[in-house]
Symmetry: C2
């Protein structure tokens, strides 16, 4: 490993001079020395040791983001927005996949503290688990106490700035659309119950139901993993357990994709026999057949705002921003088939 000292020796100057030239200090250096140093840097292919630099100066320049999994499009979008801001401000982003494991999440917060991260962004749902929330809170407190900045996406009970996707509102919008289309026999393909996102979206659904003087009984809600296969599984269970459903509300587009797959397999036409709606408006939503009615969350923007808030110097009371949800109507939501449709037997028998 070539070091700054090597460069200094090669150029016949002091390490201080090399440092000033390489790291662009304000102090002026004669053109002759500058040239000699740069030549040495070139010859030795010198790259300063970032860790030594971070130790010596005290300015942080990396930010960390803890997501469920970057390969999940939801988080990929958030991360993209966040990266944009990071690049603009010359920050390095460390991406940590927690795979929704609370312990791993705690471990990553420590890791980011150890890395002297300037800011930590916690993206993704919180957990309805007071013990966990408490220990995470304590850890974050220790971090912010030493100047660290925290901002969270979509959880409510932690210190720090927050960007809140309008999950409740989105749930309300999508359910209202489904009820407005005339559906009364509705199944819900829900994400794991311990996620705050699930709780919020469900509560939006319930609010809409209430306005229509309907209820969403437990047997019409199936909790499953927050992905395509979970959606497929929950859809299959619901169809088997509750004959006569005319619409399925999935808690995100991946789950909706799984539901569509099951319906296609069973030969159930969508939306003719059963309507399906999703949540998040992932890019694929418009490429499915039928195209998916869903709720759009401005994910890229959410990621960008979360980091912007964290990097904004003006301390003070934690700020909360709500990112509005927007209904996106596409083909997969139609009117319910008549309850006594002669087709009913045709396709339920195929299951």
């Amino acid at each position: 490993m070539t070091t700054l000292a090597d460069v200094a020796r090669q150029a016949g100057v002091s390490p201080a001079t090399v440092s000033r030239i390489v790291s662009g200090s304000t102090k002026s250096v004669s053109d002759e020395l500058r040239e000699r140093v740069l030549r040495a840097v070139e010859e030795l292919r010198y790259v300063p040791n970032a860790h030594a630099q971070l130790l010596a100066r005290s300015d942080r320049s990396t930010v960390g983001v803890v997501v469920h999994d970057v390969s999940d499009p939801y988080f990929a979008e958030i991360t993209r927005g966040l990266q944009r801001i990071a690049t603009e401000q010359g920050k390095l982003v460390i991406i940590c996949n927690s795979y929704r494991d609370p312990d791993r999440e705690l471990a990553y917060v420590d890791l980011l503290r150890a890395q002297q991260a300037e800011a930590i962004i916690l993206a993704g749902s919180g957990y309805l688990d007071p013990a966990f929330t408490k220990s995470l809170g304590a850890q974050l407190a220790a971090y912010t106490a030493t100047g660290g900045r925290v901002s969270v996406i979509g959880r409510h009970d932690l210190a720090g700035d927050a960007v809140l996707p309008a999950n409740e509102e989105g749930g309300y919008l999508i359910a209202s659309a489904v009820f407005a289309a005339g559906h009364r026999e509705v199944g819900v393909i829900a994400a794991p119950a311990e996620l705050t996102t699930t709780a919020d979206r469900m509560s939006g659904l319930r609010r809409a139901a209430k306005e229509y003087r309907l209820a969403i009984p437990d047997e019409r809600v199936r909790y499953a993993s927050f992905d395509r296969d979970g959606g497929a599984q929950a859809a299959a269970e619901l169809l088997d357990a509750v004959p006569g459903l005319t619409a399925l509300i999935a808690m995100n587009d991946s789950m909706a994709t799984g539901a569509l797959a099951v319906l296609r397999e069973r030969g159930v036409p969508v939306p003719l026999a059963v309507s399906v709606v999703g949540f998040d408006d992932m890019p694929i939503a418009q490429d499915l057949t039928p195209t998916l009615t869903t709720v759009r969350l401005p994910l890229v923007e959410i990621g960008a705002r979360a980091l912007a808030l964290a990097l904004d110097d003006s301390r003070g009371a934690p700020r909360h921003e709500v990112a509005a949800a927007e209904l996106v109507l596409r083909e997969s939501l139609g009117p319910p088939r008549p309850q006594d449709s002669p087709n009913l037997s045709t396709w339920t028998d195929m299951s």
Copy 2:
């Protein structure tokens, strides 16, 4: 920021002792001191400064991967495999998005060098650009000269270990399937020509064409950006420019998705009027309508192998592993419609 010295003071021991306990040195420490130190660590919520640690010890423990964009499913899969190995071996992964910008790619290699990364994985296509390849090569040479490990996914002309997706073979397989189905009027939706991936896949197509005594004339090849919208654009252009096409070969599944969207918009039935095939077998391929015939690359495995090779100590001649491609037949490939089909006018008029 609480430091190791703070902990030592609080526990009434020397910094050396704290270090030994906190970082799990082999040297034994009495239970009493150990307990006092751990209590102090707990009280002060001490986390060691990772940069100072890296400076002091000389073992690296982070690896870097340069991809086009993690939110692209292709790279998301590769990254997933890579992360698995990294986690197993206790390495931190730094993900860098180059957005296919050669300059940014060079900059990231420097950044990873500066971060003292133990290994650098370059994922994704190379560029058919000798000048760039040369300067990247020089940079990597400087890195490996100081003990850095490099492995590349899918490019041929760089030092270091390599995992090579069977792009040529995959191109051959998919084109053979298309020709075998009877298609003769085939359009190619190609990725940018300067990518080695494009070159390799195209050459596979050409080999298959040759076996069928066919050629792939330039006017039936459209180059576009390597994503859904690029695919849509290229598909639209091809359909307009070359009437009578019975099959479209897209260079990846995203482009195929775009092509399907255009065909759906124009009311062209797939595969009845036009067949469409993709490449990579992304997860969505089986959820599109029709489900997509494509070529599977074991991307997760490729990512895992690339990192495993890089971390494998046994130096020596660079190793090259080929990751086999596998044809996945699904609905989107069918026999060609008869050339004089009465339907022809019906749907070409709709464009």
